[in-house]
């Protein structure tokens, strides 16, 4: 530090401020670039597939991809909240399966039941599952990985006991329920609109609400968050309840889409959802990422699946590709993170010199 800058602070102040503000804008820029990266890859994929098989970009196929991606994008909302706080929810697949069976089965046990009640039952069931996970994780202070792995099997086991050898079949469901999945507004499935709305609300909450920002703080540095007086256990509890409720809603979506539901419904779904969230730029270490990115990640994964199908690759590959993309995404993110940290350090040392 030269004495000249110290004695004449006023002219150098704006530049110093500019340099100080820069690290944040750099981080912002990189995160935005990460989201645009997904959009870019998505566009590239659609372009190549369309060149090979023009019917890929037909209206009906777009609707197909969107309605397929909707469930994953919806579940990605809940998972993003959980992953932001450095936790993980492996139980979503089981919650979706359980909620799908119980909610669809309402039509058999209570003929003529109102559809909103069925939705409420599904969401309520998911909420209850999330409450249990949340209590054990946040209050019992047990790693979420272990709790949700156990919940995955407990909820699936309970589901199997409840379902028994029975199943819900399409002709027991009222047409008005099945039609929910096929309904469109301006050419886009209604459920996709609903999910987009929920994504927007969640994104606004995470961006603008104090408690939303606190989720990032918890994920970035739990110790610092504790010292800052953030109620960590309460926030983590909330994310699991939310994830459960969202998965419960997802179960009703699943029921409208697949109509035939047995005890194995939605098995392994959680891995696809986590893959979507991570591919969408939510750091698995927590503290960084957005709901919009996660939803785009879900869209990208489903587009790739459908595109490969259109190109004649058997659907057996779906799982392997999701796993591979997850590994690629975390590896790339690690690279970006290291570069970013190095760049910030360099800037700071310039500032100090």
């Amino acid at each position: 530090m030269s004495t000249a800058t110290e004695t004449t602070p006023s002219p150098s102040a704006p530049t110093a401020e500019g340099t100080l503000a820069n690290p944040r804008s750099l981080v912002d820029f990189v995160l935005r670039a990460r989201t645009f990266g997904i959009v870019g890859i998505l566009a590239l994929f659609v372009l190549i597939t369309t060149l090979i098989q023009p019917r890929f970009l037909s209206g009906s196929n777009i609707r197909f991809v969107l309605s397929d991606a909707t469930l994953y994008a919806l579940l990605a909302i809940g998972q993003t909240f959980v992953v932001l706080t450095r936790n993980v929810d492996l139980s979503v697949g089981s919650v979706v399966g359980f909620s799908a069976y119980v909610s669809a089965n309402m039509f058999q046990t209570h003929p003529g039941i109102a559809i909103p009640v069925v939705f409420a039952v599904g969401i309520g069931l998911g909420l209850a599952c999330g409450l249990v996970t949340g209590v054990i994780t946040a209050i019992g202070r047990v790693p979420s990985l272990v709790v949700t792995l156990a919940m995955l099997y407990i909820i699936r086991g309970v589901d199997t006991i409840v379902v028994g050898s029975g199943q819900v079949v399409a002709n027991s469901l009222p047409d008005s329920f099945i039609n929910i999945f096929h309904a469109t507004l301006l050419g886009i499935p209604v459920l996709a609109w609903v999910t987009a709305g929920l994504v927007a609300i969640a994104a606004y909450y995470l961006r603008s609400y104090r408690s939303g920002r606190e989720l990032y703080a918890i994920g970035s540095d739990p110790d610092a968050a504790r010292l800052a007086g953030i109620p960590i256990a309460k926030r983590i509890f909330f994310t699991f309840v939310l994830s459960g409720a969202v998965a419960g809603l997802g179960g009703v979506f699943w029921a409208t889409q697949y109509n035939t539901i047995d005890a194995t419904a939605a098995t392994g779904l959680e891995l696809q959802v986590i893959a979507a969230v991570v591919v969408g730029g939510v750091a698995i270490f927590g503290g960084s990422g957005s709901v919009v990115g996660a939803a785009l990640g879900a869209l990208l994964l489903q587009t790739i699946n459908v595109a490969l199908n259109v190109l004649g690759v058997p659907s057996l590959w779906t799982e392997a590709i999701a796993g591979f993309l997850l590994l690629v995404a975390i590896t790339l993110d690690r690279g970006i993170q290291l570069r970013l940290a190095a760049a910030l350090r360099k800037r700071r040392s310039h500032l100090g010199a």
Partner: protein
């Protein structure tokens, strides 16, 4: 280390060894919780045996013991490398997928008329490679093992489905599938898998307790950075553990397919839960740095016999045990925390009482001064 970030910042910090030399008494004090956990497992084992024999006399029949042995042996073998990995503070969720990849690869190569010894070598190499990929991503790229192995759990399971497709292979030669029906060295109630487990468990236990390498695993789990500065080759050791896990799981995949006399889609699905349950039930800390092979072996026995006992009751089936298994997993991580809670609660009460007494004393002093 990698799991630390999954504590959600709300976890109690695991007991860290303090600096400086410790007296013998302090060392015994450190061993105490381990001993207590293992003696609790012995009590649980006796209770489960009593439960089983009271449910049905068939519990101790040689047929039932053999089935129980076959069921648990494979899981218990996979629990050994998992124990070592969790002690170093990492985790491997891909074990069941490596098992499936190995078994389904074997099925596919067998129907393509490869010779069995060659197939076994190829499967073991494949397992080694699968483990090396995990290890590379964790140690060289520096990714958390949790994320990596969730990815490879999906990837390897997906590849397994691609390799064999939706068919099932059950034409393995009887000389190999005999491991699923014949007892170890002609003893009717002990399966080959359990015999292999016992041998490997003794070897692993000795390695862990009595060699520098074994002790260094605990050091890594307690404080990776300190271990590194103490000259322990942290990355190399972790890498070899993941490779070992891949190799062992591929071997178990071969063994399991022979026992079933079949290789098909979804083979061994959900085994990672059971393996992790056994390891954590055995008193291994999910945060690393603590645990013993004896505990894991006892936990495997408790787990297997509890399952056998419950399945003998008419109202219980495999799916119901899934719920019990998940419950055991949660309990085995929750119970150690409950002890911490109880201690903290006592401390808090004591502090409050102390503060109350101090306040009363100062109030008394004030009134004296005032008067």
């Amino acid at each position: 280390m990698a799991l630390e970030h999954m504590r959600g910042g709300a976890g109690p910090s695991p007991g860290r060894a303090g600096p400086g030399p410790r007296s013998w008494r302090q060392r015994a004090g450190l061993l105490e919780p381990v001993l207590r956990w293992e003696s609790a497992l012995v009590v649980a084992l006796i209770a489960v045996i009593l439960l089983g024999t009271s449910i049905s006399p068939q519990f101790t029949s040689s047929y039932n013991l053999f089935t129980t042995c076959t069921n648990i042996g494979d899981l218990a073998i996979m629990a050994l490398p998992m124990t070592l990995i969790i002690i170093t503070g990492e985790i491997d969720l891909s074990v069941a997928s490596v098992l499936a990849l190995s078994a389904e690869l074997m099925g596919d190569l067998w129907i393509h008329h490869w010779s069995m010894p060659l197939i076994i070598v190829v499967c073991l190499l494949m397992g080694t490679l699968a483990g090396a990929v995990n290890g590379f991503l964790v140690t060289r790229v520096g990714l958390p093992s949790l994320a990596v192995t969730i990815g490879t759990l999906t990837l390897y399971r997906g590849l397994a489905n691609v390799v064999l497709g939706p068919i099932s292979v059950s034409s393995f030669p009887a000389s190999y599938t005999g491991v699923g029906v014949n007892g170890f060295l002609g003893i009717p109630s002990i399966s080959w898998s359990v015999a292999v487990f016992v041998i490997l468990a003794i070897a692993t236990g000795v390695m862990l307790r009595m060699t520098g390498l074994g002790r260094s695993l605990y050091a890594i789990g307690l404080n990776e950075e300190a271990a590194f500065h103490a000259g322990i080759r942290v990355k190399r050791i972790k890498m070899s553990l993941f490779v070992l896990s891949g190799l062992v799981c591929a071997a178990v995949g071969i063994l399991y397919a022979f026992e079933l006399a079949s290789a098909a889609e979804n083979i061994g699905i959900g085994f990672e839960l059971q393996v992790i349950t056994i390891v954590l039930l055995g008193g291994v800390s999910i945060f690393g740095g603590r645990g013993s092979i004896l505990g894991v072996a006892l936990a495997a026995a408790v787990y297997a016999l509890l399952r056998a006992a419950l399945l003998l009751t008419s109202s219980f089936n495999e799916n119901d045990f899934q719920v019990v298994s998940g419950g055991l997993l949660i309990l085995s991580v929750l119970v150690p925390n409950l002890a911490t809670f109880a201690r903290r609660g006592r401390e808090l009460m004591a502090r409050r009482r102390g503060r109350g007494a101090a306040a009363a004393a100062s109030a008394a002093a004030g009134s004296v001064r005032g008067g």
